[in-house]
């Protein structure tokens, strides 16, 4: 790396300048006011929807992954099924009941196909 900077960025944002520009240098752009704040202080309302195939539906993707686990020599895991995870950002001011109703209807008509899938809705 030029100027002896480290190859892998550290978690500390202060070191990012060293990673990009080499030790002893800092980027010219100003850092955002909330840099360094933990993500929890910047939380946005989210709803999570998880969609899985019904147990009786064949899951070839899961089978392919299970095969890969075996080739990795991983023991103790007998089956894998792959599903989908959706993260929906909700606008401020929506009532809980309205959010629940809207997201459930969305999941039932678009995010999941009720013929072959089931879903769960969870507040973030």
């Amino acid at each position: 790396m030029p100027n002896g900077g480290t190859l892998w960025p550290s978690a500390n944002t202060e070191d990012r300048g060293a990673f990009i520009y080499g030790s002893g240098m800092r980027p010219r752009c100003s850092r955002p006011a909330n840099a360094g704040q933990s993500p929890r202080l910047m939380a946005v309302p989210r709803v999570y929807v998880d969609v899985v195939l019904k147990p009786e539906i064949l899951d070839p993707q899961g089978q392919a992954i299970a095969g890969a686990l075996r080739r990795l020599g991983i023991e103790g895991i007998s089956d894998v099924r792959q599903g989908k995870h959706f993260e929906l950002t909700v606008e401020d001011g929506m009532q809980d009941a309205a959010i629940q109703a809207t997201v459930t209807r969305l999941a039932d008509t678009l995010l999941a196909n009720p013929v072959i899938e089931t879903f769960t809705v969870r507040r973030g």
């Binding site: 539906i57 678009l110 072959i116």
Partner: protein, 228 residues
């Protein structure tokens, strides 16, 4: 006879379907997914391909295209609709047909000339075949496994709504070897294989698929005669 062929973002076989309509003697009318008008067509084909990149689920987003609201309403009124491959997926997602299509059981995209048996020749699209006629039509899909619960499958069988079945080798794990089905009225047909790719000897395994597109001409001509 005007046959509309819908193009969704990512549709692949719309032009081939249009060509099949023309070769069969009809007028192919391109229909745009965002245009809710069907432009006075006498029938609609939902073609094969990867509408919306197969994102979320095959056909899940195309089902909500503006043109589909009109297609669903018209289909309920008896408009003949043929969904081929991705079109079949859209028809199932729209609930115009029961069941769903899932990933092939053999974990491979299958692309081959597939023998089929036509089991229902009473639909608007299959009246050009003999009942039980075996044909060869190209098949190309990664998510072509037809599934439905036992009650639905028994109902389809009992009502003669299995339009076509795979013979020799089930390519994708479809329950009961089902390659195509129709709705109760018989005007909506979903088919996994591609008849539009078997309409001339130069570009396909034969011409076994042409009758799908020629049949609709005969049906509509008959309707017009009765109406006069």
């Amino acid at each position: 006879m005007r046959v509309g062929v819908v193009t969704f973002p990512g549709s692949l076989d719309d032009r081939d379907a249009g060509r099949a309509v023309r070769v069969a003697g009809g007028e192919a009318v391109p229909l745009w997914h965002a245009d809710p008008s069907l432009h006075d067509v006498d029938a609609v084909v939902l073609p094969g391909g990867f509408s919306y990149g197969d994102y979320l689920r095959c056909g899940a987003i195309a089902r909500f295209a503006p043109v589909m609201a009109t297609v669903v309403e018209a289909a309920r009124d008896g408009l003949p609709v043929l969904g081929i491959c991705n079109g079949f997926q859209v028809l199932c997602e729209s609930h115009l047909l029961p069941g769903a299509l899932i990933r092939n059981d053999r974990r491979r995209f299958v692309c081959r000339d597939q023998p089929l048996r036509i089991e229902n020749n009473r639909t608007a699209w299959t009246s050009g075949y003999r009942s039980g006629q075996q044909i060869v039509v190209p098949l190309k899909n990664g998510e072509g496994g037809y599934v439905a619960d036992e009650r639905t499958l028994d109902e389809l069988e009992a009502e003669g709504r299995v339009v076509a079945r795979y013979v020799e080798d089930n390519p994708n794990g479809s329950y009961r070897d089902i390659a195509g089905i129709c709705n109760e009225a018989g005007n909506v047909v979903g088919l996994m294989p591609h008849p539009e790719h078997a309409i001339d000897a130069l570009t396909g395994p034969g011409t076994d698929g042409l009758a799908f597109f020629a049949a609709i001409a005969g049906t509509i001509a008959g309707t017009l005669e009765r109406a006069l």
